[in-house]
């Protein structure tokens, strides 16, 4: 049974969610707790109105961090009288903003959509994802002496990256796409310091640029050799490093985007891979 946690929600929201789902989901109402692990929940719902928007934005940011790259939708229920724009909530990490005055049917279907279990990857998707997963582990191990454990992968319905720093590389050739590695700040500093043989307090813009760029370059480069002679073979472009949270990445159309999560101790990092052969296999 899916579990939904309502953080600091009033009776109106609790009543609405209960009405929409009845006994099909387990609903828990609780006070906000940034430290609480969210892995057990299928959805988090917060409500505007009871606190200042700035405070709620901070809480959403904290919740998004607590999700640790997992595909846990954060839903903001908004009162109609609340005129604060939606944009900051989305940028902070909210998945969906719904009005309490929205048609219940629409709310139900949208929320239900998010509660449907994630699909498993197709065999042909694993054909190109497996080399990237293995390469990521290998590069982290050899370059930074860090053991990264592959935990899970899913296909996000949100193209935003909620991390602190990302390395992005364009892939072109027989296949085209993108590969993106995203870290939270603490793990980025740890990985780059071990990679660059410097202490964490020495990490600066140049180290981040070189370190994160080199990581995605090497992961893609190691993966590339698995695809020689295959439809997924690609060439690498120059890596780009992006700072800040909430970036939206555009990918080629009509192709899935996989998000692979790796754990390093209690931290995680994410690898997004999107790869589309230009010529269909067998043709």
């Amino acid at each position: 049974m899916s579990k939904i946690i309502l953080y600091d929600c009033g009776a109106e929201v609790a009543h609405m969610v209960n009405n929409l789902f009845g006994e099909k989901v387990a609903i828990q109402n609780s006070s906000f707790d940034a430290q609480r692990p969210l892995q057990e929940f299928s959805m988090v719902i917060v409500e505007t109105g009871s606190k200042k928007p700035e405070q709620l934005l901070q809480q959403i940011k904290a919740l998004r961090y607590a999700c640790n790259f997992r595909n846990i939708p954060i839903i903001v229920m908004k009162k109609k009288s609340d005129t604060y724009p939606k944009h900051p909530y989305i940028m902070a990490g909210a998945t969906e903003i719904l009005s309490l005055q929205a048609p219940p049917l629409a709310c139900r279907q949208i929320l239900q959509g998010y509660l449907i279990p994630n699909r498993q990857p197709l065999d042909q998707e694993m054909e190109y994802l497996t080399p990237f997963i293995n390469s990521a582990k290998h590069v982290l191990k050899t370059m930074a002496s860090i053991d990264a454990e592959y935990k899970e992968l899913y296909f996000p319905n949100d193209f935003r990256i909620f991390g602190d720093v990302s390395g992005i590389i364009g892939l072109s050739g027989k296949a085209e796409g993108t590969a993106v590695i995203t870290f939270y700040w603490d793990l980025a500093r740890k990985v780059i310091s071990q990679m660059m043989r410097v202490t964490e307090d020495q990490i600066n813009a140049e180290f981040i640029h070189d370190g994160v760029g080199e990581l995605i370059n090497m992961i893609s480069g190691f993966s590339k050799k698995y695809f020689i002679g295959k439809p997924y073979h690609f060439e690498l472009s120059i890596p780009t490093v992006v700072m800040g949270s909430g970036h939206q990445i555009g990918h080629p159309e009509d192709v899935s985007i996989a998000l692979v999560i790796f754990d390093v101790g209690k931290s995680s990092f994410a690898l997004q891979v999107c790869l589309k052969p230009k010529i269909k296999k067998g043709n």
């Binding site: 939708p73 939606k86 944009h87 996000p156 981040i208 700072m243």
Partner: protein, 612 residues
């Protein structure tokens, strides 16, 4: 009391404001407080303030807006301005310095340290009045994430740059991934850009400028990087080679400054400042653009404002479909979203059991919530799944996952007639005629099964990669009960641009309704225009009921009179006056086709050497 001792403290938190004011008063300063810009301006009017300590968000505006306002006020622009912000809501220190802030303090902070810093700042700005020894120096005003380049305020001592706020550019290292950036200022050597793209000194990158004369992309090198908060965009200084392209851009910037200074209207200036985003040149890299708007960028605003303009219902539908990407719907995987129509959203899917690609059509939440529609849909989808024809996209199965109704059908990769109309303007060609013949023959097969499609339109006729025409989307098709004395109408079903008058008026419909829609569809195909247009759906529907369409020949003089008559007969308002069956249409079309071929051959005979 002299101004050196008077401090204006602005913070939206009243309790915090009073506590900090008290500490400063104990240290010997006279303190004025304000919760919002309005109060702050009053304090500045009536008191000789020597230092402003301001939060980055006030009750009414942001601290940046307030700072920008002050720096444009010649009477107040010299008052030292220090941001004093909570650690968990630092905003953008770099932006603050660019706007002219003198310092940036972050709390929580020890009271002694805070008072020392204030005394230090005051001593720096009013050296002659140095009364108290400055506090021990050596404490950074910004939290570490260290920076190899000098802090922004040091670089500001370099050659004076011209401010050029909010002029947007795109930056790329590989010409595939383009990042937006905002130019903060420029000089003869280059520009300072705020962007999420990180770089390091010496790195080369491409910068795309949108000038009135077109898009110009030039190569530059990063001269310096200002990076003070890992969650915020960075500032990068980019230099360009002294060549004509850069001179042209530089001249354009200078003209913007001049036009603003010479009183050009704000609107005109704004238009110049915000050239429309342009796509990258084709054929570069992978031939695609990866675009990353950063936090607060106008690209985001555009996206959101665009969606805000759509009706609430449409956004609910699209958000519903969006929630299903990457999900498992029964035995099918939703791989990626393809598009949506009035009846539902279409996904590229994967049939886990039979291991084949499918198109998954998810019925809109509104239709699937109606029990009568659900029943009808399931019953008729079963019938349509039995239609076995090479020009019909097959329905494989129907499913219901937690109340989400969908069906799986043949996935057809290709272009719809709507795509081809957009691409070519119209399809008044032999090929277009052949498409009409094929659709007629296919719909005749459908009619023989006592089924009507009810949503014939250019979007539902696809030419696949092998050139085979397929009719898709039987989602609202209906089985006609030939033995029943009268069928019960179910309200308006169809697409407004192509719907038949009897569907609109609620009469019982039969295959002649499809004939009307097919006529309207090919009116659009041959002329490039739908038969009726209007400001809203109601206006279009009224035209279908009452108006005579503009003759095809007037819309497109190249359309043959013979073909024009066929289409107009298909579109007769009264079903009795239309073609009564597809066979007659096919006969007329084939006669016309023979005439066209003969004429073509004759032309080739008269013009030797052509047609080979």
């Amino acid at each position: 009391m002299s101004e050196k001792n008077e401090i204006l403290l602005i913070n939206r938190d009243k309790g915090f404001l009073e506590a900090m004011a008290e500490f400063l008063r104990r240290a010997g300063f006279k303190v004025h407080t304000a919760l919002e810009m309005h109060e702050a301006l009053l304090a500045l009017t009536f008191h000789p303030v020597g230092l402003i300590l301001c939060d980055n968000v006030l009750e009414d505006v942001t601290g940046y807006d307030f700072l920008r306002f002050l720096k444009n006020d010649p009477l107040r622009d010299s008052v030292p301005f220090v941001f004093f912000v909570p650690i968990n809501d630092q905003g953008r220190a770099f932006k603050a310095f660019e706007l002219g802030a003198d310092d940036f303090l972050v709390y929580p902070m020890e009271v002694e340290d805070f008072v020392s810093r204030i005394k230090e700042i005051m001593a720096l700005h009013y050296p002659a009045a140095k009364e108290t020894p400055a506090a021990e120096s050596g404490k950074a005003f910004l939290p570490p994430p260290s920076d190899t380049t000098p802090p922004p305020h040091e670089r500001r001592q370099a050659k004076r740059k011209q401010p050029l706020p909010n002029l947007k550019v795109s930056l790329s290292r590989d010409e595939i991934l383009w990042m937006p950036g905002k130019i903060k200022n420029f000089s003869r050597d280059g520009i300072l850009v705020i962007t999420s793209l990180l770089g390091k000194p010496g790195v080369s990158l491409m910068v795309k400028f949108s000038l009135p004369q077109g898009v110009v992309t030039i190569k530059g090198h990063i001269k310096h990087v200002a990076f003070d908060d890992f969650r915020q965009p960075v500032g990068i200084g980019i230099t360009f080679a002294e060549d004509s392209a850069w001179h042209e851009i530089n001249d354009y910037f200078a003209s913007l400054i001049n036009s603003a200074a010479s009183g050009a209207s704000k609107k005109e200036f704004r238009e110049q400042q915000t050239p429309p985003p342009s796509p990258p040149p084709p054929g570069t890299g992978a031939g695609k653009t990866v675009f990353l708007p950063y936090e607060g960028s106008e690209g985001e605003d555009l996206l959101l404002s665009d969606s805000a303009q759509r009706t609430e219902e449409e956004t609910y539908e699209s958000r519903f479909y969006h929630s299903l990407v990457g999900k498992q719907l029964g035995g099918y995987k939703a791989v990626c979203f393809i598009g949506s129509g009035s009846m539902g959203g279409v996904f590229k899917g994967w049939d886990s059991a039979l291991e084949r690609e499918v198109a998954l059509k998810v019925i809109s939440y509104e239709l699937s919530s109606q029990e009568t529609f659900r029943e009808m849909f399931i019953k008729e989808a079963r019938l349509i799944s039995k239609l076995d024809h090479s020009n019909i996209a097959h329905i494989y199965s129907i499913g219901d996952t937690d109340g989400i109704l969908f069906f799986a059908m043949e996935l057809i990769a290709g272009e719809t007639l709507a795509d081809l109309i957009i691409k070519h303007g119209n399809l008044n060609t032999l090929k277009g005629l052949d498409y009409l013949l094929t659709v007629c023959q296919t719909l005749d097969f459908v009619r023989q099964k006592n089924i009507i499609h009810r949503d014939i339109k250019p979007e539902n006729i696809v030419i696949n990669d092998k050139g085979v025409l397929k009719i898709v989307d039987f989602g609202v098709a209906k089985k006609i009960d030939v033995n029943a004395s009268g069928d019960v109408p179910e309200g308006i079903v169809g697409s407004p641009l192509y719907i038949s008058p009897e569907s609109i008026s609620g009469h019982v419909i039969d295959h002649r309704s499809d004939i009307y829609s097919l006529g309207a569809t090919f009116y659009h195909v041959f002329t490039g225009y739908p038969p009726f247009e209007g400001n809203d759906t109601k206006a279009i529907l009224l035209h279908h009921l009452n108006s005579k369409s503009i003759p095809l020949k007037e819309r497109n003089p190249k359309v043959s009179v013979f073909l024009s008559r066929i289409i107009e007969k298909m579109m007769a308002k009264d079903p009795q006056e239309r073609y009564q069956n597809y066979k007659t249409i096919v006969q007329d079309l084939q006669s016309f086709r023979s005439m066209v071929i003969q004429a073509k051959n004759k032309k080739n005979t008269l013009l030797p050497g052509r047609g080979k």
